[in-house]
């Protein structure tokens, strides 16, 4: 039984699984149900001046029969009075003193507004604050949410204002709707943020109804962009988390968010530098009880690896994440087909033939049965065949010793620079970045 407790910038929770600030954390009833189900923490749905929501708010992208590959919403922050929320936050914290209860905040970018809400919220006893600089719709049009979060100076300044008043740890939640997320992450840190959380949702339009020509969702025949989340956004989120984790100028704990649906996803985020994770879509799809397998699966995983604490995972893969220019150009893999496992669907052949490097050949054996063979000398090790292969264990990518010392693009350029020969047109086409 491994120790699953985490401490994110001074905020402690019995396990790394928190509910993200979103519809599931709208009320005390919900958050208390979540804690009963096993969630280690929750970020209360964003407090601010209550808003009016539209009806018809969510949409999802189903992919080949699997529901909710991605999820899109145009719901805004809390639509309930501040006093009601504060009363329920107080009651929830009182009932669950050992769970992490963080409150998400969003007000106009004015110093006194931030001071006011920070004081009110901290007065009732919370474990931390999360500043919502990410909500991409509705609030942004009022100069809040992503409108603040896309401008590094606004992120820095507002974080600073909050820190002037705050006594509990301050987490800044970042929007992914920006070219380089480390820019705003660094701004948050300059403003004094104790931690960052990412990602918020990505600008999205879930779809268009091809019969009615309405957007999905639509509000009385009109649509507007929403925020995209769910399993589909996980790779985007994971990259952004990793970029922040490996940036020495960020250097604060990270609460990872974005498409986390299982303990495996959580492990990936932890390995890439998250101290804990926040979940929303998976809970909205299946209910709070999914945390049971998240906890159980993580625990069994740690036991299986002989790790005593979940903290031993945090950031362990960060050093393996680098820039393209640091990758070894002399490393080589080729595809190998395990004939016993191959079901001869020919998908690898056509993928390679039409869209990659034409090196998987079709043959017929003495019994007239088709089989596939990789022409290894022409295989560039792109992985495509192993990706399209529907069968476990039929195609493996095997490392081929090249007999050459590791050499990255950056090393190569440096070496060329040192010898003074800038002209390498002869072999530059061989390993070209695309």
């Amino acid at each position: 039984m491994a120790d699953l407790r985490i401490n994110l910038a001074g905020i402690c929770s019995p396990n790394p699984f928190w509910l993200a600030s979103a519809p599931p954390t709208n009320t005390g009833y919900q958050v208390q149900r979540a804690f009963e189900a096993g969630w280690g923490g929750a970020v209360w749905k964003t407090l601010g001046d209550p808003i009016i929501n539209t009806s018809s708010r969510f949409a999802a992208v189903h992919f080949n029969g699997q529901r909710v590959a991605g999820f899109n919403n145009i719901e805004l922050i809390t639509d309930r009075p501040l006093e009601v929320n504060l009363k329920e936050i107080y009651e929830t914290k009182k009932r669950f003193p050992n769970h992490a209860l963080v409150v998400s905040l969003m007000v106009e970018p004015k110093r006194e507004k931030w001071h006011e809400i920070v004081k009110k919220v901290e007065a009732i006893g919370v474990d931390g604050l999360e500043l919502n600089f990410g909500c991409p719709h509705g609030m942004a049009e009022r100069g809040m949410g992503a409108a603040s979060g896309q401008q590094p100076d606004l992120v820095e300044m507002q974080t600073m204002w909050v820190k002037e008043a705050a006594k509990t740890p301050v987490i800044v939640k970042l929007t992914p709707n920006i070219t380089d997320i480390t820019t705003t992450a660094k701004a948050a840190v300059r403003g004094g943020a104790d931690a960052i959380s990412l990602i918020n949702t990505i600008n999205s339009l879930a779809g268009v109804d091809i019969d009615t020509w309405n957007t999905i969702p639509h509000v009385g025949g009109k649509g507007a962009h929403g925020g995209y989340c769910g399993p589909a956004v996980k790779p985007i989120a994971l990259n952004m988390v990793a970029e922040c984790a490996r940036s020495p100028e960020v250097g604060v704990p990270i609460s990872g968010i974005g498409g986390i649906s299982s303990w495996r996803d959580a492990v990936e985020f932890l390995l890439m530098g998250s101290t804990g994770v926040q979940v929303c879509t998976a809970a909205m799809h299946h209910g709070f009880s999914i945390v049971e397998d998240m906890i159980d699966g993580l625990n069994n995983y740690l036991d299986g690896k002989d790790l005593h604490s979940v903290n031993e995972l945090i950031g362990r893969s960060v050093e393996r994440y680098s820039d393209w220019g640091d990758l070894d150009l002399n490393y080589a893999v080729v595809a190998r087909i395990e004939q016993d496992n191959c079901i001869v669907c020919n998908k690898c052949h056509i993928a390679c033939e039409d869209t990659s490097h034409q090196c998987i050949e079709r043959h017929t054996d003495v019994n007239g049965n088709g089989y596939l063979k990789v022409r290894e000398e022409d295989c560039v090790g792109c992985n495509l065949c192993s990706i399209v292969c529907p069968v476990e264990g039929a195609i493996s990518m095997i490392e081929i010793p090249t007999g050459e010392l590791p050499l990255s693009w950056n090393q190569r350029q440096a070496a060329i620079g040192a010898t003074g020969s800038g002209n390498d047109s002869e072999d530059s086409g061989k390993k070209e970045a695309v």
Binding site: Q66, S262, R264, G287, S289, I290, D293, G297, N300, E392
Partner: protein, 459 residues
């Protein structure tokens, strides 16, 4: 199915017959399991859980397969059902979990039994120890009978911290799961793994010890804080017709039991009649086919409408090429000069409405006698009870069916509890392995509640 069996030659070495007893159904392959587990909707308050007599959290164990948490999946199954690996193979899932699956309405049900087998097979293959014994509470319980009900009670009691001793008359524990279910449905190794899981919790399993003979009931009652009676049922009763003593007449329970450990060739080429139409009768019939019998007929005095075997068992028998003599009752078994079976005289029956409006009664059709030329007769008309032991314990029973309080599983002697087939009948209980497992569990909880409450009161 019948075509692929090795039963065509007149002389068949036992090795090739043995292949006929290999598990019929292959386990799910990894890709199948992943696809199927991801198809599960993870319903809230899922009907499959309610349809499982042991209340396995089915969506949870399936989700764990999907997430790659195999240990957690196996534990979720075995936590609720100490014989969950057996039940994955023998449960009538169409009538239980899979029958309740909401996808029956829109697609096809999740293959819950197969997924359960996939997860428990993983635990068996990876030699997982799933549970630990509780801290000793200083109390001791004797369990008479190491079948599913006894094992289930013993495991839960051990987890509560009781010192548990199972008294098992046979060489191995597991009861019906080890000896009574045909190998091509349930290999013995599966049941023995479940026994091992219980033994590893510190439960003392004393095999080859017959209570009432090797140790007296009085001793047990004196030495243990509680006694659980989980002795199941006994042999098939006598038909009460001539010729039952002939060579070639078998008791279906004994007949199946032999096949669990030894494949004999004495049925090769013989025409066989199985009397009865319950699940045991189907087992005896399909075993006979696999043992090389040249023709197998099930003889039943009612029709397929009234037969008690599950539909899938009936289908299975048909696929094995078993034939059926409906509305037929045995009159006498005819022997040859060497005392061996050479025929079964039968009489045709017709069904008449019963006076009380209950089950239709079979009535002989006068003058309709005919003889089936058979060389073997297998009796599968139910099971008798271990009356003598029940009498020795001095507890209330109705014709060997021990009476229990349906909430506490206590018999008329409050120190003696009973679970499983020993309480099945007369409208009490169910005859499934999964029900026995649940009763064993509930008996353990009842003992825990009674004894620990008593301890709080007295000291």
């Amino acid at each position: 199915m019948g075509k692929s069996l090795n039963v065509n030659a007149t002389f068949i070495p036992s090795e090739s017959l043995r292949r006929n007893f290999a598990e019929v159904k292959a386990g799910m392959r990894p890709m199948e399991a992943i696809e199927e587990s991801n198809r599960c909707l993870y319903c809230y308050d899922a009907p499959c859980i309610k349809a499982c007599p042991t209340g396995i959290n089915i969506p949870s164990f399936i989700k764990k397969i999907a997430s790659g948490n195999m240990l957690g999946s196996a534990r979720a199954i075995m936590d609720a059902n100490p014989v969950g690996a057996t039940c994955a193979r023998v449960c009538p899932t169409e009538e239980l979990c899979e029958g309740a699956c909401v996808l029956n309405h829109s697609s096809k049900p999740i293959m819950i039994g197969d997924l359960q087998r996939y997860a428990t097979d993983w635990a068996i293959k990876n030699e997982q120890m799933l549970f630990t014994a509780g801290h000793s509470n200083g109390m001791a319980v004797a369990v008479i009978g190491g079948g599913p009900a006894g094992l289930s009670a013993a495991r839960e009691l051990a987890r509560f911290g009781f010192a548990v001793t199972i008294f098992e008359a046979r060489e191995q524990a597991g009861g019906l799961d080890t000896y009574g279910i045909v190998s091509f449905r349930l290999p013995q190794s599966i049941s023995l793994w479940e026994v091992e899981q219980v033994r590893k919790l510190g439960v003392d399993i004393r095999t080859g010890v017959r209570v009432g003979t090797d140790i007296s009931t009085a001793e047990l009652l004196e030495q243990y804080d509680a006694v659980v009676l989980a002795i199941g049922m006994s042999k098939v009763p006598m038909l009460g017709i001539d010729g039952e003593q002939l060579e070639g007449v078998y008791d279906a329970i004994d007949f199946v039991e032999v096949t669990k450990t030894e494949i004999k060739t004495d049925l090769v080429g013989k025409r066989t009649a199985v009397i009865g139409a319950g699940n045991t009768a189907v087992d005896a019939a399909t075993c006979s086919v696999r043992l090389g019998a040249s023709n197998v007929k099930m003889v039943y005095r009612r029709t397929n409408e009234e037969m008690t075997a599950y539909d899938f068992e009936f289908e299975f028998a048909k696929q094995d090429g078993v034939e059926f003599e409906w509305l037929t009752a045995p009159v006498r078994i005819i022997g040859d000069e060497n005392g061996r079976v050479k025929g079964l005289e039968c009489i045709k029956m017709r069904l008449e409405a019963s006076e009380d409006g209950g089950r239709k009664l079979p009535v002989p059709v006068k003058g309709s006698n005919f003889t089936l030329a058979v060389e073997a007769v297998i009796k599968a008309i139910g099971q008798t009870r271990h009356l003598s032991l029940i009498e020795q314990l001095g507890i209330e029973h109705k014709r060997g069916i021990v009476t229990v309080d349906p909430d506490t599983y206590q018999t008329s002697n409050p120190h003696i509890y009973a679970a499983g087939d020993v309480i099945f009948g007369e409208g009490q209980g169910e005859a499934m392995v999964v029900s026995a497992a649940q009763q064993g569990k509930l008996t353990a909880y009842s003992i825990y509640n009674t004894l620990s409450a008593g301890r709080e009161r007295y000291g």
